[in-house]
């Protein structure tokens, strides 16, 4: 084994509300890929942000090249050869690729033209197709990630930390990234790969560090372990298995939601949605697979009435709702749990009761002649807390003080009650721990069995496969095809998600 480059020794990190890292020790060797595996909220990102100087450890030591070092700022980390690509990219959308890369690494007068050439050359060296003079806001997510990598390479980083780098990529793009990682470590550099996906861990890493609840529960060599063992370490308990959606034919059932030729084409912009056609029947889950930012959010919002559409028709239970406002669609029985719940689905500063009222302020559910019936609303909220096992002392606590999983349960509880006919779930389990995921999945299937139509958007293929009766693949605002669950292999869906139409056989629905 090569000599260690970085040693994190007994790091503990305490935030106001949580103990994020508890006595974490990790060693990173030269020429090695370390996978940091764990569920959301296990403390993977926190420990790496400490190494990168974004957070400061409450206690513990960082040793670099066999000497103890204090890392107070990202600048000092970079000086030590450490770079980090965060989950939410640290790019300035309004600046060019070059400006983003030289940010913080230049002095005095800028010679943008010269720098642009340098960076273009660097990109070509690694086979990246990145236009150095382009504004970042005009680049695809995949390209933005390459800009982040270039930034690290420009700094001559020898330790590259990547936080969930594959979440925004197609399976094929992931392969390209893995290829880069291999080439990069061959040159004697090291990579830390933060992820919660087993497949990637097995594909690329040498050493696997598994974290749970802020501490390390195992460090193993890839060659000595199996996916099953890793999963067990990661979760620490068994989960109840869900019944797979049946393969029964639903095309004879009543159509609840029909979307016809739906398009959103803003001026001076590529279409966000183009000629979307589909139906969801009574008691059916239609899953939308796809890489994020391929029109999923726009589709959900268009159906819910949140954004204007250019053309097309939306029918709910045979009634044309195309021109109805969000307010009226809520009245008609649509529920929508948005992917960005913090932004669209809740008011962090308000109490849980007030949040449960959010979608029904115009309805007569808890409002009487414009006056709110607080006591009834409080009772309802308390009931929901019990029913969904939300960890909250009572209905008066603010939604923002709940954990992400409990916030999502609250939103789901509300939307399930609001959506009498149709419920739209956009990434319903993003950021949740496995227990909460399990609960949300059970709820979705339960509502389906009640005869509601469910539109499910997810970037996690496993989730799509586990819940959907039929699966649609969305790519650049277009439906690449709608299939029965079971007709698609992972490989084929991967190609569809990348916009490649595989040989036509068996692809009709």
């Amino acid at each position: 084994m090569n000599e260690p480059v970085i040693e994190l020794k007994h790091i503990t990190k305490r935030f106001a509300k949580v103990l994020a890292n508890d006595d974490v020790s990790i060693t990173i060797h030269k020429g090695e890929v370390v996978a940091l595996l764990g569920e959301n909220g296990a403390g993977k990102s926190t420990i790496m942000k400490i190494l990168y100087g974004l957070y400061h450890a409450t206690s513990g030591e960082i040793w670099i090249d066999g000497k103890e070092r204090k890392i107070a700022t990202p600048k000092e980390a970079m000086d030590a050869g450490i770079s980090m690509i965060q989950q939410h990219f640290s790019l300035v959308p309004a600046h060019t690729v070059t400006e983003n890369i030289i940010l913080g690494n230049c002095k005095g007068k800028l010679d943008i033209k010269k720098k642009e050439k340098e960076i273009q050359a660097l990109a070509e060296k690694y086979g990246f197709q990145v236009p150095a003079g382009e504004y970042v806001k005009n680049l695809s997510v995949g390209t933005q990630q390459k800009v982040e990598i270039l930034k690290a390479l420009y700094l001559n980083a020898r330790v590259l930390i990547m936080d969930e780098p594959t979440a925004v990529l197609t399976p094929q793009e992931i392969d390209t990234l893995m290829e880069f990682v291999r080439r990069y470590v061959e040159q004697g550099n090291s990579v830390v790969f933060i992820t919660h996906k087993m497949r990637e861990v097995m594909a690329v890493s040498d050493t696997i560090v598994v974290m749970r609840n802020g501490s390390i529960c195992g460090t193993v060599k890839k060659t000595d372990t199996s996916e099953a063992e890793l999963a067990h370490m990661m979760i620490g308990r068994e989960l109840e298995t869900l019944e797979k959606p049946g393969t029964e034919d639903m095309s004879n059932r009543r159509v609840r939601l029909a979307v016809k030729d739906l398009s959103i084409k803003p001026k001076d912009h590529t279409p966000l949605l183009e000629d979307i056609n589909f139906e969801i029947h009574e008691g059916e889950v239609l899953g939308f697979a796809g890489v994020s930012d391929n029109g999923q959010q726009e589709l959900c919002e268009a159906i819910y009435g949140g954004i204007p559409i250019t053309s097309g028709k939306i029918e709910l239970d045979g009634e044309d709702v195309t021109n109805e406002s969000v307010k009226d669609r809520i009245k008609l029985g649509m529920g929508y749990a948005a992917a960005d719940r913090y932004r669209y689905g809740m008011v962090a500063e308000m109490s849980m009761s007030e949040n449960m009222l959010l979608k029904s302020s115009y309805l007569n559910k808890w409002v009487n002649h414009g006056l709110i019936r607080w006591s009834a609303l409080h009772r309802y909220t308390e009931d929901s807390i019990k029913q969904y096992a939300i960890k909250a002392p009572d209905h008066t606590v603010t939604a923002g003080s709940l954990s992400g999983g409990n916030q999502q349960k609250m939103v789901v509880a509300r939307e399930v009650d609001m959506g009498d006919k149709l419920i739209i779930f956009d990434q319903p389990t993003r950021g949740l721990d496995l227990g909460a995921i399990n609960y949300v999945h059970k709820t979705i299937l339960g509502e389906r069995d009640k005869g509601k139509a469910v539109l499910l958007v997810s970037t996690e293929l496993s989730e799509i496969f586990a819940l959907s009766d039929r699966i649609a693949v969305l790519y650049k605002g277009k439906i690449m095809g709608i299939f029965k669950n079971g007709e698609l292999t992972t490989e084929k869906i991967g190609l569809l998600m990348a916009g490649v139409q595989p040989e036509k056989e068996g692809a009709e629905s």
Binding site: Y52, F89, V92, E99, I102, L103
Partner: protein, 306 residues
């Protein structure tokens, strides 16, 4: 013709403090900080400028004191917003009230009750040799006072710093995406603090312009919302020094027009409307133009959990 030249001369003269204040505001807002204390900074600048000049008999000392006073108020604003995370608009209002009170109070402490307003002689205009002989613009542009020349030289300098230097890049990044700037090793709080401090210095000089270059005396109403107009100019000029200059001159013209109309005395349009013209102009321009180029995180405090 002469009336026209006089008007333009006066317009440029009146636009100086607005442009100067707006330049500081542009720099600060590029880093994401709205310096809503600008009205207070202008006022304290006017106060400090007058006191310094009156007591020392030297206008330079007046301007220096104005700068220091502006800086102090800006630092107070910076500490409470940047380090103590208080809301920028609320804090700006609080600072304005505090400054208004303190200026009146300490003016009284220093000078007691005066029956006749105290006066200082105002800054002289300097004719630039040769250039001032050019017809029209010779008088309008090259026969102004030093502060005006300083302001107009500052416009290209500010433009260069913001768009062509690494410091400018860092500053703009703090206003667009402070998390990214932080991750790139830039000290966001320090950068913002620096920008607010510079805005304070420039705002202080701008405020002192009114007593020391225009009227030669001080009273509590001397600024009367002109700080807010500079604030508006920064918005209208798209957070760009050149835009600030253009809109500064437009407001200079409206200011000058009001003065001319009042001087002529006979007019079918009431003079009050001319006095209100700059304020009406801000409203109309704010409504009419589409905002673009807004620093993405303008007005949002950067709070890092740690």
């Amino acid at each position: 013709m002469q009336i026209f030249v006089n008007l333009i001369t006066r317009a440029i003269f009146m636009s100086t403090p607005l442009v100067l204040g707006a330049l500081g505001e542009v720099l600060a807002e590029r880093t994401g900080m709205m310096v809503t204390a600008i009205e207070g900074i202008f006022l304290v600048g006017a106060w400090g400028g007058f006191i310094g000049a009156y007591l020392s008999g030297n206008l330079l000392i007046g301007f220096l004191l104005a700068m220091v006073c502006g800086l102090i108020v800006a630092l107070l604003y910076g500490v409470t917003t940047i380090y103590m995370h208080q809301h920028q608009i609320v804090m700006g209002t609080a600072v304005a009230i505090l400054v208004t009170g303190c200026c009146t109070f300490f003016y009284r402490v220093i000078f007691g009750i005066q029956t006749v307003p105290l006066k200082v002689s105002i800054l002289k205009t300097i004719k630039i040799p040769l250039l001032s002989k050019i017809p029209i613009i010779g008088q309008a542009i090259f026969s102004q006072n030093l502060v005006t020349y300083f302001t107009y030289i500052l416009v290209p300098i500010m433009f260069f710093v913001i768009y062509k230097t690494s410091l400018g890049l860092s500053m703009r990044s703090c206003g667009e995406n402070p998390e990214a700037a932080d991750a790139a090793g830039i000290n966001v709080t320090r950068t913002r603090f620096l920008a607010v401090a510079i805005a304070g210095c420039l705002g202080g000089i701008a405020g002192a312009y009114y007593p020391l270059c225009n009227v030669g005396m001080y009273n509590a109403e001397i600024i009367g919302g002109r700080g807010w107009i500079a604030f508006g100019i920064c918005f209208l000029g798209n957070w760009n020094p050149v835009g600030a200059l253009i809109f500064g001159v437009i407001f200079g013209i409206s200011d000058a027009l009001g003065i001319f109309v009042r001087a002529m005395g006979t007019s079918s349009v009431p003079s009050e409307l001319f006095s209100a013209l700059p304020y009406i102009l801000v409203i109309i321009l704010t409504v009419c133009r589409k905002q673009f180029n807004v620093p993405a995180k303008l007005g949002a405090n950067y709070v890092k959990e740690d």
